[in-house]
Amino acid sequence: MSRRQFALPERSSSEPPDDTGCTILHVDMDAFYASASLLAHPELVGTPVIIGGGTRSVVLSATYEARRYGVTSAMPMTRARRLCPIATVLPPDHDLYASISAAVMDTFHDVTPLVEPLSLDEAFLDVSGAVRLLGSPSTIGQHLRDTIADEQGITASVGVASTKFVAKLASGLAKPDGMVVVPHAEVIPFVQQLPVGALWGVGDKTEERLIALGLRTVADIAHTPVETLRRAMGEASGQALHDLAWARDPRRVEPVQRERSIGHDETFGADVDDPAVIHRTLLKLADRAAARLRKHGLVGRTVTIRVRFADFTTITRSKTLSQPTDVSRDLYDTARGLYDALGLQRARLRLVGVRVEGLSDAETTPVQVRLDEPEHSWRDADRAVDRASARFGAGAVRPASLIGDRGRDEGRDRRRS
């Protein structure tokens, strides 16, 4: 989802866009979290809906009806509710999002192996190898949009261009539920009529500096000598801005990089000082991290916990295990040990997180087994839980202390990788 919205520039030609050579697609689900949540609430379609947690968290997503009131992603919930008091607020359902996302990514992989997911709801695809089999890039783009709408019941917007940067801009301009093709010949006029804020890597600060220099549109940047840009904006970013202004973006679509760490944070609805609640939260987070490790066929060696106090000071503590693991119990015991070692005397906490690092493929990672490892260990219990979850939904089997916990819905959850 792009941070800002820009108007679709006028096309210079009235012919249907020529998509030859435009082999890069950027596919972005429209208001993904909101659309997905509405699948279970058809009565709310067409009304303003905000997806987010309790009063303390931020807006995860909002329907276009709510966006009209000025609600945007990552805005504090309290502010969003003030802007749009009539909106219905739904709690996020991360399992649903993950399963839709997985299905959508599968659809992408049916078209090309070159898929670079950016998040749950967007990805770059390089379809150069699929053109002979499936038709022109815009045909493929339309096919993807139709398949996603058919199979998942949500809409996606597609940008088709010859570079990643332009494809991403195009999908942003296609929203909602549209497709924009930027023909190779029209790329430079297309890019140059945009405001500078549209360029990749230009945030509020950079935009201010560019405008202070009198550079308002991308064309202004393009016609500024690169030396001047380098002096004003720094060696690297000056060069990068100039390249982008001439639509030069050599980055290729990189299929999934391996995750470096897996972990989750949880912000409490209200500050917590009860060790039992904190232990339970650590258990939930460790359980989830371990389930993800197993799902991806990984094992991890280092467990890190993050603790944020009521005054926002944040500390991390980590421990490297003697053997890599994907066992929920091992992660929890370590996380809990780290937490207990802090010796907190009922300090009020705002957030705790559990992360696993030092990941490697389970298939090839040697493990020194313990002499006293029972025939049926926690490892087997975890695998049984995974099978039950695959069949009956995540959380079908969980630690007894987490029963009755609506935890998957509460608080803000951030995935880090």
């Binding site: 094992v299 389970a362 090839t364 040697p366 087994v369 313990r370 002499l371 006293d372």
Partner: protein, 377 residues
Amino acid sequence: MKFRVERDILTEAVTWVARGLPARPPVPVLAGVLIDARDTGEITLSAFDYETSARTTVPAEVAEAGTVLVLGRLLADIARNLPNKPIDIETDGNKVEVTCGSVHYSLLQMPVAEYPTLPSSPTPTGTVEGTVFTEAVGQVAIAADRGDTLPILTGVRVEVDGDTMTLLATDRYRLAMRELTWQPTASDQNAVALIPARTLSETAKTLGAVANVDIALGDAAGGDGLVGFDAGQRHMTSRLLDGDYPKVAKIFPSSSETEAVVGTHELVEAVKRMALVAERNTPVRLRFSEGQVGIEAGTGDDAQASEVIEATVHGPDLEIAFNPAYLLDGLGALGRQFARLAFTAPLKPALITGQDTIEEPADTSYRYVLQPVRLAG
């Protein structure tokens, strides 16, 4: 206080006593060595860190009895560096004057009154031959845990039952057990003690080399979680670890499918060579077949190595993977010409014992059980 002592005698005594002194003591006085000169012509040096105490008595010409406390490591360093002449030590106000030939040191006295009382030396409950004790402790202590997850596993479990003493340690990945015969003072003795492995190794090395070691276990040791060791004029006590040691009896494999007898030295050398390419955490793989064992390490993407050595193999072929460091620990501790490796399955614990010829049956007085490595997937 005033006495004269031979340099070598003082050096040896103070070095031994001070070797266990903490670098950063919890209380300043614990960095000291207590010197007690008596009119009987002896001086006693002692050190204590609340966990272990060390005490030794050596002859000296005592002119005036008395007690002082001085920095232990400093005194040890000084003694080592003095010329080989008699050393005179005497108190002067709040100083201790150390004179050796024309060398003179003036050390600060530490407050004797603040020094804790050492545990009294318990009456021995039996005796074990010094060299046997040193060897046995060395064989077992290697398997003790060095981490901090389960403090109890950092100890060596010592059990006496009549004239049999059994030493055992495990870090949950491997287990080492040694049985030996000792001479108890009473034939119906029965006691179990969990002694910190580091202290026990240190003790066995320094005491076993001197003489037979008298050991005080159980109630005789004062009954308050202490063990005592005496050898010649050296006396030590150590606090015991508290807690229930895990049940280990069922860890020993009761039968075996494949057994191999290999020259210990040849196998150690081969494993060391292969281990050079076994990166962190990757195992060495052993493949046993008729008349040989193939050893290899390294995986597809990295360097690889292989070697084949002669072995007498009984039973079906078998391939098994071990952490090379753990395997070498066990083989190195055997102290015998040949190693016998017994396996039930590639993912079940292996038993390593030693023997002096290929044909003779395994000597089970020392047993090393090692859990193999598997892949996480």
